[in-house]
Amino acid sequence: MAVPTHGRIVIVGGGPAAAASAVALREIGHDGELIVISDEGLAPYSKPPLSKAFLTGGVRSADLSLGTADAELRLGTRVSRVHFDSRSVELDDKSLVPYDGLVLAMGMRVRRPAATGVEVLATMSDATRVANALRTSRSVLVVGSGFLAYELASAARTAGAETTLVIKPGALSARYGVLEAILTMQAESAGVHLVRSTNCEFRNGGATTAEGIRLEADLVLAAIGSEFERGIAPSDASHGLLVDNRCRMRDGVVAAGDATVTRLPNGLLRRDATWTNALLQGAAAARALLDDDASPYSPMPYAWTESFGLEVKVAGTPPVDVRPTVVDGTLDEARALLRWPGGAAAIGYRIPVSRLKALAADEPATLDA
């Protein structure tokens, strides 16, 4: 049953999905109480620049505020439990906040190595610390295989530091195929010392690879992913908050963002932990909470990264065992539009996302630009 527009809606989380939900709820006419509860001390802010322009001084924190319409923000506040049956959330101080509608948008827990002297980049305060450290570090070690690791290595090079990047070979290509080869090539041409290792253990101020190479640097950065934190989720949630095609978990409860998973027709669970998904799913969850007939949310996956001056966009789910067709440009010059069955990528190639998605969906493409 849809939540009445004058009811009280509680949003748990302070990231992009939470902010997009709050804005969308007001946008579509929710005029009741709207409470955002976040354990972070800051109001929601934009994250993509944190690992890019923010690190090299191109963006100020004041320009990153996302806004939450006129929601009441309870920052630095932890939810310890959700009482789904009696419709209330319990805070750390045991007080209860009853709700008519609930949006769970608490994100994932970023992995932070236990070793001292190792930084991660997940929040504004992390980014501020890392940006300061970059100014004085002559050497930087980045460990990680995803887009974030390349972005951090890129920022370190821009800051003029001697930069080492440790990747697990095949980790990125397992998801994005040829992109791993392109990004490693870019990193090496930018002067990054690339170390390929099957595993890496952090020790104070450095890391040791499974192959026995000891690496040290003035600044050590770990970009080793995040994990679902069961925390306040229902007891049957093991990999994430399972939502249906309208972001619904149960009556009066929707969820959005990195913590959610959906079930594919083949029975497998799928997570889409991207910036774009967090925002669009947050808005879709808001619509579903107020309207039982809201349209289904089934976006095509889309990811974007920028490192070493190269922008890479990927739409759809490129198969990893099929070489892409070069639709335009050339890979050698790192300017190419690629297409696979079910996926498409733009490497240093300007194309609106809607057209990239159309290409990935194998719709008649209009590439006459």
Partner: protein, 66 residues
Amino acid sequence: MRIEVIMERCEGHGICAELAPDAYSLDDEGYVVFAHDGGEVPPSAQAAAAAGARACPVAALLVREA
């Protein structure tokens, strides 16, 4: 409140139009256009317009508080 767009930066992500359909839409190519002339945003759409601008992954939209 006014919104400024830096067209060279727009990559057509479309997040702005999704979050604030009363302030932004996409042209036939898929790049952002203002729903109102000159980026002037009516009071009712300002919260969403600001959120849509700041959610832009490539910072193509700038919020100017009048």
